[in-house]
């Protein structure tokens, strides 16, 4: 699975996710990536793209959950990501990237690693795996 989340200089957020799914999956299986609010979500608060075990992400409604705890619990972006990864995944393994309309970037994952990269207008740039 691959994904990208962006907030532009006008504060507009967007998210996109694309995947081939699981190795040896059944024909016709649908995972989390195409499901809005589960694998992909964007609103006027943040943009989120998820990856990992689709069945766990679906049950946790993961992407929308980040926006929801920001809106209703007033959490910041990274706090919201940490909360969702720690509290909403049960035994599942997954990760996600997110941006906020304030120009922040965040990620969280409970897997061995996640291929990821970030950049912000003030010059921050990071690429990581583990």
């Amino acid at each position: 699975t691959v994904g990208c989340v962006v907030v532009d200089s006008e504060g507009r957020c967007a998210a996109a996710t694309s995947t081939g799914g699981l190795i040896n999956k059944k024909v016709g299986r649908i995972g989390d990536s195409p499901l809005i609010g589960l694998g992909t979500y964007a609103c006027d608060v943040c943009g989120v793209s998820c990856t990992g075990e689709g069945e766990a992400i679906i049950r946790g409604t993961l992407a929308r959950e980040v926006a929801a705890v920001m809106e209703y619990k007033g959490l910041g972006l990274q706090e919201a990501v940490n909360y969702v990864i720690e509290e909403r995944l049960d035994e599942g393994q997954a990760g996600l990237i997110a941006v906020s309309s304030k120009g922040e970037v965040a990620c969280g994952f409970n897997t061995t690693g996640m291929f990821r990269g970030f950049a912000t207008e003030d010059g921050f740039m990071e690429v990581g795996i583990w």
Partner: protein
């Protein structure tokens, strides 16, 4: 208001024993995708255009599990899916079950912009793709040798795998066939849904 920001991912399924040169390849590719997005943002492209542009780049390279280089189904074929969402008006588009569309994310964008729906799947999505004139390729284009080998290993282990890691305990499966595994745990973990 803060400035622009961008994040990309290539999947959370990472082989713990990933060779260093493969790690370098992944980091170089992620950096290239970031540079593509940064250039577009500096040229004042909108967020929705930038996420589509970057995911197309990720789909075109076989390094990660999407587009070319997608994981294989139990039949050894590729079935792809994607979705895109624009925050300001929460517009969205999604596709599933694609077998010939070169860039699934761009078809998802067309579902959002050019159809009255949010989600098209399988033959309906392929028909919409032909109507919209997007680039189509044969299913073979998406299949890589590495993924054929991984599928073989998953079948021998009677497993469904999230990532390229080959769980050691299932590599030399014992004589009696173990219960169907999903990413190294019994499928029963997923029974709830």
């Amino acid at each position: 208001m803060g400035g622009w920001a961008i994040a990309v991912h290539g999947g959370a399924g990472v082989d713990p024993d990933l060779p260093l040169h493969r790690q370098d390849d992944a980091k170089k590719f992620l950096t290239r995708c970031l540079d593509l997005g940064i250039h577009a943002l500096r040229s004042n492209h909108s967020a929705i255009d930038v996420v589509e542009l970057v995911v197309r780049e990720l789909e075109n390279d076989p390094l990660f599990n999407s587009g070319r280089g997608s994981a294989l189904t139990e039949d050894g074929t590729v079935e792809m899916e994607a979705s895109i969402m624009d925050g300001p008006k929460r517009r969205c588009g999604a596709v599933s079950g694609l077998v010939t569309v070169k860039n699934p994310i761009s078809l998802a964008r067309l579902v959002m912009d050019k159809s009255p729906h949010s989600y098209l799947a399988f033959s309906g999505a392929e028909k919409f793709a032909r109507q919209q004139g997007v680039e189509l390729v044969s299913n073979d284009y998406f299949i890589t040798e590495g993924n054929v080998e991984l599928l073989q290993l998953a079948k021998e282990a009677n497993g469904i795998w999230l990532d390229r890691r080959v769980p050691i305990e299932t590599c030399c499966a014992s004589v009696e066939t173990p219960p169907l595994q999903m990413n190294g745990v019994p499928i029963s973990v997923y029974t709830p849904e």
